[in-house]
Symmetry: none
Subunit: 210 residues, 4 copies
């Protein structure tokens, strides 16, 4: 019989299950995605329990799926590697903003799942949030301390939280809540954001508001 599902039957079943499950978890929530529906999306017979040949429970699929997302996020943990050293603060900030937004977009599915399931599965969140959020905020705070003379650690953390938070919220609103068009386009947002962060640095250079 032919596999009529959307899933590519060349990838191993286990992978297809995780992929489709995570997609469904993002779309309709963990509770809303029944095992039968996941099976159907993965090209298995719905309700046949085929999922249990690959995972011991529905929850395990979620855990494996989240872990897989997180593995791809390890690079983000040290945002400084991304920023690099361009010798120009504004250029470095621009790269940072674009990269952070791109990452949030790439992880939109994960974000949706984390947000939906945060309350019912708090233990799942610890590692995820740490990799996705906390460490990024810390890392950016470190960069701030190094870049801006005289910025103390606490102030840097506050600035980091406000700065990255403003980008995060734009993506949470758009990708999670579905609220659109609160700001014009990404490039304007990045420009304004760079201005904003520069304005918070106790810089010695003359600042320009555009």
């Amino acid at each position: 019989m032919f596999t009529l599902g959307v899933a590519d039957s060349s990838t191993p079943t286990r992978e297809r299950i995780v992929d489709e499950a995570m997609r469904l978890f993002g779309e309709v929530g963990y509770k809303g995605a029944s095992v039968a529906r996941i099976e159907a999306a993965a090209g298995l017979q719905p309700g046949s329990g085929g999922l249990y040949h690959h995972f011991s429970s529905k929850e395990e699929v979620l855990v494996v799926g989240i872990r897989r997302h997180l593995d791809r996020l390890d690079a983000l943990r040290d945002i400084r590697r991304v920023i690099g050293d361009l010798g120009d603060t504004r250029a470095e900030l621009k790269v940072t903003a674009r990269y952070f937004l791109a990452e949030l977009d790439a992880q939109a599915e994960l974000l949706r799942i984390l947000v939906s399931e945060s309350r019912s599965r708090p233990q799942l969140l610890t590692e995820a949030v740490d990799k996705l959020i906390s460490s990024t905020f810390d890392s950016f705070a470190d960069w701030l301390v190094d870049t801006a003379d005289g910025l103390d650690r606490d102030r840097a953390r506050t600035v980091s939280a406000l700065a990255l938070g403003s980008l995060l919220s734009s993506r949470l609103l758009r990708n999670v809540l579905g609220v659109d068009a609160l700001a014009p386009d990404d490039e304007s947002t990045v420009e304004a954001w760079v201005d904003m962060v520069c304005g918070m640095l106790p810089s010695d250079e003359p600042r320009v508001n555009t």
Copy 2:
């Protein structure tokens, strides 16, 4: 027989049902809060269907609960009334920040519900998000245009989204995702935020970063 529920039995049952339901929806999500559990929390016999003497469906409880929250939010729609005219931009911003954070805290429950149920009940969100988010962002953008000479409307919307977004994300992280302590305390955050916003205004006055 004694009423063993946590709810205050002096308030009418209908109110207790909405209160407890909204609390549970925020804690464990709409699907996670079974009618039986809501009834128990409201001091009714769980599973007896007592909820249906006051509401025609579980969904109606959610709708009524959300509407009740929204009714209290009407004042927030025009944030400018709150800002008032203190004659001092920094002071006005400080008030704005504190008020916005306080509102987000007061509506933490609503936020949690909106975020959890956004995908399964998009129609419910339209009004809510508009009152809670969009109109506030717009209103603040208006204030920016009026306050800062030479700030064009698009730029003002971008600044508004970034500025309020940074406050919003701090509350989403704390009240919805449960991520704590990314920034020290509220007062430092407000201070830094005021600096930040001032830094984005094409001001004529000399600005001071503290």
Copy 3:
């Protein structure tokens, strides 16, 4: 407050309950007519249990309603009183047919209920069927024996069952199953029926088929 229900509020509540209940039982069946719906139809607050001030249970309403219908049927028990003695067999049969059809129409509601609930409440049927059906059939058989010389009792019972049965089925089909227009109009049916019954009598006129 005004009573908006269809029921005439001048008749005593108890009567209104029986009336509306029987109407609903006929329309949607015993199980389909909830106590709340009966109350609403009777001008009481639905779900308030007002019915129980007049009846000890929903079933009692049915019993009382059926009994009330049956009381009106006592006259039918001796169909011979209706037929009377017109001195003309054909005329007497015509009256019989018209009367029987009219009675079945008048008791359409009762018929519907009896048919719907016959299996779940067999004890209720005994008296009803006896009054409505059996005794009528017997009574007509008696008339046949008296009217037609040489008709033995068994044959008379068979003829009665066939003759009245054909009228009964036309009403069951129309009033209970809702099947319409299997025969043109009532008067043609009556005519044909009189012919039919006359043809079955061992009349003094030459009859052909035995």
Copy 4:
């Protein structure tokens, strides 16, 4: 574990469900036959929802069951094929009567269900009644027109309705209402019925009543 249900566990579950469901629908009505009870009768664990692996709803079981009954009735649609051509009117009528009674007995279960559910599910009845009743009546009327010279179509329909109706009502009373023994035995009934129908035909032999 042993299968304790009454149903033969060698027939497929789906068949057993339909069989037992139709039996129960006939006995206690559609509403009276709970899914759990049907499951138990079909040898499944009551309340486990096993029925839903074979049907999407309780209603679907009814529809499938009725359709199955109807499929067996297609032959009856043209009663003339059954009557055939025996060259003898009385003989042909005898066959007709016996066949019609036998069919009504075979479909007693279906009759009970149709009668009980006629009001709540009128759409279900259309096809059923047409196959079981209307077409049979029409078909017999056709035969009457062909057999009896000078019988016009309207009169034939009336006679058909009266004649078959008298047989139908005997079975409705016995198989649906449970009223017994209004007529002695089937053979006497058939004899009398043949007499009756012959008496209504404008035969070439001298007939008296028109």
